[in-house]
């Protein structure tokens, strides 16, 4: 089943096409990779899927419904949740508070407002799911630490944890293992695989770490200068002439 479908999306910034006629299909349960040299338009595509910027042209479908033009919070409530390239956290809040905030989408805003006067049951539910996510992501020892005090690797994991508590159907990860050594990167990827198994989350991933991409992704899409130049299984991508050219130059 195709969960997420991009149909010929184009984004033009001041006359320059950052992304041109880009197609993508993400199937349920898949871990799909999006790679390409710097400036190829990967983050722009993420921004369009998550509703931060609207595409100039083309349609985005989620579970068969047209979603281009929706605001980020609407998409998050439907199940498309993203992380950012640069560590994006509530840095002066504790790890627990960070993850609690991630879980507010399914509860809506109204309940948060009423909560303040009547301690409703929903709050316990939210706390419960937060504790589960903390357990799942292995952040138990850091629960009450301020997010800013976490080492880099754990900050990235915390970012994913915030997104996971928002109960995503599709998780968009923008360079989740950037700046990590192989050991840390494997740990993050194992967590992502666990999420796919346990929560049935489908993942679209932008990453520069080729080893991670080749080892873990089911399918890879290669982007260069805003255009798709190749798509397929990692083993096919490895052999693709155009891809090698794009990365190594002619």
């Amino acid at each position: 089943m195709v969960l997420l479908e991009l149909d010929k999306i184009t984004k033009v910034f001041g006359g320059l096409a950052a992304v041109r006629d880009f197609d993508l299909k993400l199937e349920k349960g898949m871990l799909s990779g999006l790679i390409g040299p710097n400036g190829a338009g990967k983050t722009t595509i993420f921004n369009m899927i998550s509703g931060i910027i609207p595409p100039t042209n083309g349609d985005i479908f989620f579970k068969g419904n047209q979603i281009s033009g929706c605001k980020p919070h609407e998409l998050a409530r439907r199940g498309i949740v993203r992380t950012f390239q640069i560590s994006t956290l509530f840095s002066d809040l504790t790890v627990f508070q960070n993850i609690v905030l991630g879980g507010h989408n399914s509860k809506g805003l109204g309940s948060g407002f009423l909560d303040s006067f009547f301690s409703l049951k929903k709050r316990d539910e939210l706390e419960q799911s937060t504790l589960e996510v903390i357990e799942l992501m292995g952040l138990n020892d850091w629960k009450d630490e301020l997010a800013r005090n976490l080492p880099h690797g754990l900050q990235r994991i915390l970012e994913i944890a915030i997104a996971v508590n928002a109960k995503p159907v599709v998780l968009l990860l923008d360079e989740p293992v950037a700046g990590m050594n192989w050991e840390e990167a494997t740990r993050v990827m194992e967590i992502i695989n666990l999420l796919r198994r346990k929560e049935g989350i489908s993942v679209l991933l932008v990453e520069h770490n080729m080893r991670v991409v080749m080892d873990y992704c089911d399918r890879i899409t290669v982007l260069s200068y805003g255009k798709k130049i190749a798509e397929g299984h990692p083993s096919e991508i490895k052999e693709d002439k155009q891809v090698i050219e794009a990365y190594l130059g002619t």
Binding site: K71, T88, F90, L101, H104, S116
Partner: protein, 315 residues
């Protein structure tokens, strides 16, 4: 429901008894007047503190206080409605204005929002000055009747006190709930909050409307207490003074805002004797607090001070 320790509960009880009996053991009417102003300033400060908590610096709080004050006094003077009605209408009016202005301006980030709120204060003031027939021009509205049954200063004090306590309860509970956590999230990283599914623009509008509604209600009491309002009361200076209360108490903290308002109102009155030097001392004090205690009064760790004092006693 609220997990208070017994000691804290006792402290709150003693404080409540204290503020409720002030008129019994102090007969000085000036002190009563000061207490009324403290109560109103606390409401202004905590309502602004909630706006600051979500990361928006509003320089236009005086405009909403003024809107409440003008609505209430005009309805009382020209239409003859009783205070118990005009009071609520004033709150609703301020809230509505905040809703429409908030929808437009809250989308602006950082300094741009602040600049529009600053401009807004001036727009409001200009309107009050320009329309002599409706708003009374520069001299404002006079002979605003006191609320029925509330004529003496002591009665006014109880009105202001109860209003302050209710407001404080509302804002404190809000800030300690998940709603408050969402406000913190907006301050630290609104984009992330939006991307996990919180309607941040709606959230901001709700906070803004709640805060400005209470500012308007406070303005209404202020108008009926003073009996005379003019555009010169609701200027930038009032807005900045409220920001100073919040800054000294600790930006974004409700308790801090309240503490700052109490402290600075009393200090300000004590300094009236020195005239010109008042603002000078005020300014130096503010700078001092920002340098020594960047988190404001709210950041003082009382436990630590207690321990320090104990140690000294032993030595």
């Amino acid at each position: 429901m609220i997990k208070f320790k017994i000691r804290q509960l006792l402290l709150v009880f003693v404080a409540l008894v204290g503020v409720f009996t002030i008129p019994l053991w102090i007969e000085n009417l000036y002190v009563i007047h000061l207490s009324i102003m403290v109560c109103l300033n606390v409401v202004f400060a905590i309502s602004l503190a909630l706006i600051l908590k979500m990361g928006n610096l509003s320089l236009g709080h005086a405009a909403y206080i003024g809107a409440g004050a003008y609505t209430s006094s005009m309805l009382a003077v020209k239409v003859g409605l009783p205070f118990w009605l005009t009071f609520y209408i004033a709150g609703i009016a301020s809230g509505l204005i905040a809703f429409f202005i908030g929808r437009i301006t809250l989308g602006l980030r950082g300094i741009y929002f602040t600049i529009t709120t600053f401009g807004l204060t001036e727009v409001f003031r200009s309107i009050w000055i320009a329309f002599r027939g409706t708003f009374g021009g520069p001299s404002g509205i006079m002979n605003i009747p006191p609320p029925p049954g509330i004529e003496t200063k002591v009665q006014f004090y109880y009105l202001a006190l109860i209003f302050m306590l209710i407001s404080f309860f509302v804002f404190y509970r809000l800030s300690k709930s998940s709603f408050g956590l969402l406000c913190d999230g907006l301050r630290f990283n609104w984009l992330l909050e939006e991307c996990v599914g919180v309607d941040t623009s709606r959230m901001k509008t709700i906070v803004f409307v709640i805060a400005c509604t209470f500012a308007g209600l406070g303005g209404s009491i202020l108008a009926h207490y003073l009996g005379h309002i003019s555009p010169s009361i609701f200027t930038m200076f009032l807005s900045t003074e409220i920001i100073v209360y919040c800054a000294i108490g600790g930006l974004g903290s409700i308790l801090g805002g309240a503490a700052g308002a109490v402290f600075m109102t009393v200090l300000g009155e004590m300094l009236f004797g020195v005239g010109f030097f008042r603002s000078l001392i005020f300014g130096i004090f503010l700078i001092g607090v920002i340098i020594i205690l960047p988190g404001g009064l709210a950041s003082i760790n009382w436990n630590m001070i207690g321990r320090l004092m104990q140690k000294r006693r032993i030595a």
